[in-house]
Each structure stands twice: as C-alpha cells, then as structure tokens.
C-alpha cells in the first residue's frame, strides 16, 4: 500500500519540501491548523503528516484524536522559526505514559 507524505507548515518552513516530492499544505494562520490537519487526515491518502511545531501545538486536539489510529502518523518538526523542543517533550510524554514517570529524559 503506497501512500503519500504531507507537510503542513507556514510558507517559510515549507520551502523545498515540494521539490523533494512531499505534498505541501501552506498554513499561515495557526487557527486553521486543526482544520487543515483534519481535512488532510480524512483524505486517507497520507501515511505521514509532518507539521511545524507551532502548528502541531495549536492543533493538539486533532493530533490526539489521530494518535490512537495507526494511520496517519503526525510528526512535529522544527520550522523556519526554530526549535521549541516539542519533539523531545512529546518523547518524554510517551515515556511518562508507559513507565509512569519520565525516567529517560528528565535530566536533560
């Protein structure tokens, strides 16, 4: 089953992703992020949806809904505005959920 990859981000961050064959969805208004994510996920065309961290944060509710499904994988990536550490925070939240407390990344 071959599926596509999407990248949702602001117009600065998406630069170049379309050139390497990833479908790009521009979202400059953070309030629209959740809606765009929902529409993209509903299409059932994408196995992986990358999002910039700011948009990932604002669309948290939608992201949580999708996290229970095996498809698509919604992955936050740092955008053009730099890294705010959500990716690592997300990892430590996984550890916390599984173990009960964050035993791996607490000291970092």
């Amino acid at each position: 089953m071959v599926k596509n990859i999407a990248f949702i981000g602001d117009s600065e961050s998406v630069k170049g992703f379309s050139a390497v064959g990833i479908d790009v969805l521009v979202c400059d208004d953070t309030s629209e992020a959740a809606m765009i994510l929902k529409n993209t996920a509903d299409k059932d065309m994408y196995a992986v949806i990358f999002m910039t961290e700011e948009l990932f944060e604002t669309a948290e509710k939608e992201v949580n809904k999708l996290s229970e499904q095996s498809m698509p994988a919604v992955i936050p990536l740092p955008g053009a505005r730099g890294n705010n550490g959500i990716g690592i925070k997300r990892l430590s939240s996984f550890v916390e959920q599984a173990v009960g407390s964050d035993i791996l990344f607490k000291n970092q």
């Binding site: 170049g16 050139a19 196995a47 990358f50 095996s70 990892l91 599984a98």
Partner: protein, 218 residues
C-alpha cells in the same frame, strides 16, 4: 477487600478456584507482555531520541541553506523553481506486530525516472545555494521517514503499555485478592456448617441413646 456476593457452596468454590487459576495465569502472561513491551519500547524511544536530535539539527542546516538561497535569488524565482517536483516521494506502508501492537513500517518509494536527478528546475537561472539546499533536504528524507515510523511506533506502544500495566495492576491488587478472600470465606463457611451439623448429630445421637437405654436416668 470486599468479598464477592456469592452463595457459600462447594460448587461455587470450585468455580471460583478455577477462575482464580485463570486469573493467575493471565496475570503472569500480562506481566511478561508488559516487561517485553517495556524493553522494546525503551530501546525504541532511545533510538527515537537519537534520530530526532539528528533530524532537527539537519533540518536547521537545510532551512539555513534555503535562507541563503533566498538571499541570492528573488523570491518569485525561488518559489517558481521549487513549485513543481520531478520526483514523488511516497511510503510503502506495512505493519509489524510487536507483542500484539500493530506498528507501521514505512519504506520510502520514490517515483522518479532517475534517482540522481532530483532538481525540479533548470540550472540556468538558479543559484548553487539552492542546489545545495534541495540536495541536503533530499538526503534527509530517509531519516525523516524513519523518524516518522519510530515515533508512531513509540506512540502506539506507550498506549499499549499503559493499558497492559493497568490490567496487570487490577489483576494483582484487586481481582486475585478478591478471589482468594471469597474462596477463604466459602471454605470457612463450609467448615463452620460441617462443625455445626456434626455437633447437631452428636447431640441427636445422645438424645436417641438416652431414650433407648435411659443413660441419664442412672
């Protein structure tokens, strides 16, 4: 711990003993499942961390490269050269079963005529900074897909571990003690019944003997 609301009969006790056995076996298996899931999860999450650090570092390099490119080229020229793409990157989705958790396995599929020909523009009107930027992003692509796979696996596994942990705990601290206490209660009740009927029989025997031979009259 509250005991169950059951009739204190031998039949019920046999049934409960069977259930207790099943609960114990289930508890042991779930515990093994949890331990194995946890071991794999920790390995995966550590790799996830490594990969994420790497990807984030390289992405910032890429984004710096694009900024460089946009400094030498006009905005319109840059955007129009990146608008189309020569290749289409997709992922072949399979799933793998890790201790009853279906985790995805992504394999990058590139639909392009020539693997090395990644640039969607002619070189005449673009700067070499842009070539660098596109190339470094293209090289990062396999890592991005791998990151997606591992992170989704971690997400699914952490949810499953939480569920299994709850089940193990509820069996260990609620179900099994409850069965044990109920069984104890029933067996004590049965013994009590046994003793009381025995004393009653002895009493009746005494009374009958008394009547037949008039023992007490002596």
């Amino acid at each position: 711990m509250a005991i169950m609301n059951v009739n204190p009969t031998r039949m019920q006790m046999t049934k409960l003993k069977k259930q207790l056995l099943t609960a114990r076996r289930g508890h042991k298996m779930l515990k093994d499942k949890r331990d194995e899931l946890m071991r794999q999860f920790i390995e995966l999450v550590q790799e996830n961390k490594r990969l994420r650090d790497k990807v984030e570092a390289e992405l910032s390099v890429c984004s710096a490269a694009f900024t460089n490119a946009s400094a030498v080229m006009s905005r319109e020229a840059l955007e129009s050269s990146l608008m189309s793409s020569k290749q289409r990157t997709g992922v072949d989705v399979r799933s793998k079963n890790i201790m009853s958790v279906d985790v995805p396995v992504y394999k990058a599929v590139s639909e392009s005529s020539d693997e090395s020909d990644i640039f969607p523009y002619g070189f005449a009107f673009t700067s070499f900074e842009l070539d660098d930027a596109v190339m470094s992003l293209n090289e990062l692509l396999p890592d991005l897909i791998r990151l997606a796979q591992i992170e989704k696996s971690c997400e699914l596994m952490s949810a499953e571990i939480e569920k299994t942990r709850r089940r193990v705990n509820s069996l260990e601290h609620v179900m099994i003690p409850r069965y044990e206490e109920t069984i104890k209660y029933i067996s004590m009740k049965l013994e009590e019944n046994d003793r009381s009927s025995r004393t009653r029989l002895m009493k009746v025997k005494d009374m009958l003997l008394d009547k037949a031979h008039n023992y007490s009259g002596k």
